[in-house]
Amino acid sequence: MLSTFKLLLAKEIKLIFKGKDLLGYAIGIAIVMSIAVSMPSARIKIPETAGSALMWLIILFSCVEALQRTFTDEMSGKTSDLMKLLVSPSLVFLSKVFSSSVFTIVIALFTTPLLVLWLGFPISRLPSMLPIAVVGSLAIGLSQGIVSYLLARGSSKGMIYPLVVMPIVLPILISLVILTTQFLEASSISYTLLVVVIAQSLAILLVGIAFLPLLERAV
């Protein structure tokens, strides 16, 4: 099972980074939005909370296209039946969720130093910010995965992705903003909140894995 998962994950990462349009789009959005928030606030001190919120919103917004397409490409590209014949749907799901998390992490690692620098926060905070950027991106990727899958599976009409995914991700996002603020202020870190973030995203992921076979029972 582990070797199958590794194969699938390698395939997903290859696909997500090979099609450079997704990466280019995400980086482009991240840069444009970072400039848009940094330039007007050039000579005023942005509160750490606002800076954290902007950082996570930019990361999320940059990755929305990639996250949304994680599963839709498989469905529309007609490869999903092939995968169903060869591997468990749970493994395919896991590989896609982790690959989209990797993508989000890459964008977060790119965006975080950019914003710390451009918003005028102390560079010395950066080394402690990067782990939270990684953990937060992983949490976002894991928690939005099942909903992305449901939308792709149901071939939902209209641009419903933000409406349906954001409520799931929002509590995690709020917690991440609080945590990132604590890192930026170098104040005491609420490790309980960090555990809550990880626990919530893992709980959602486990629900997805547990109920996916029931969803995929031949319709």
Binding site: V164, T192, V196
Partner: protein, 212 residues
């Protein structure tokens, strides 16, 4: 028969509880008469958890048994849960205005209930956006389960680890014994109302299905 008994019980329990809470039970010393809004805030808060729990369980049962009744229960119970959450939010805002000087304070509990409302609006939006009749109940069921999983974090964990205006994270330890009687009575009444509304909605759904 059961429905008839409940229909009779509803006013028998609800009206006296309301009367007791509004007229007889002592008011909060600091807030005065305005504190009586909690009889319309706490019971809906509890009922929303029950309604969403029923939706959650029905969703799991649907995925296992693939019986459409469970899908209908999950759907209608989620709708009722949404209704209760809106009532709880509005009455909570009234309480907040008098207790803390502002109708909205971004208190963790206030925030989490807004997220909950958005979650279940999203559930209903997801259901209505699906055209595949076979997949719609399955997908809705999984989303309902995922939405419910976030509930403990939203309602119980996060308010307790962040600074909340709600006393004891909203556990209600500052309520007097008299207030509790009124609140429990109202909760029981609302529970009966919930069951009756759910039953009515399911009967309407069944009729629609038969006519198709």
């Amino acid at each position: 028969m059961f429905v008839r008994i409940l229909t009779v019980l509803l006013p028998v329990i609800m009206l006296p509880s309301m009367f007791y809470g509004l007229m007889i039970a002592g008011a909060d010393k600091e807030l005065g008469e305005m504190s009586r809004v909690i009889y319309f805030h706490i019971p809906p808060s509890w009922l929303l958890v029950i309604a969403l729990l029923v939706s959650f369980i029905a969703s799991i049962m649907y995925l296992i048994k693939e019986n459409n009744l469970f899908d209908r229960i999950a759907h209608r119970s989620a709708e009722l849960g949404l209704l209760f959450s809106i009532i709880a939010t509005v009455t909570g805002s009234i309480y907040a205005y008098f207790a803390w000087g502002s109708a909205w304070n971004w208190d963790p509990k206030e925030t989490t209930i807004v997220v909950l409302i958005i979650l279940y609006i999203a559930y209903l939006a997801l259901r209505s956006s699906m055209t595949n009749v076979k997949l719609k109940p399955k997908i809705s069921a999984v989303y309902s389960i995922v939405a419910f999983i976030t509930l403990p974090f939203l309602m119980f964990v996060i308010p307790r680890i962040t600074n909340s205006l709600h006393t004891d994270g909203g556990g209600g330890s500052s309520l007097t014994a008299q207030m509790r009687i009124g609140i429990y009575g109202m909760t029981l009444g609302l529970l009966i109302l919930y069951i009756l509304l759910l039953n009515l909605a399911l009967r309407i759904d069944k009729k629609k299905e038969l006519s198709q």
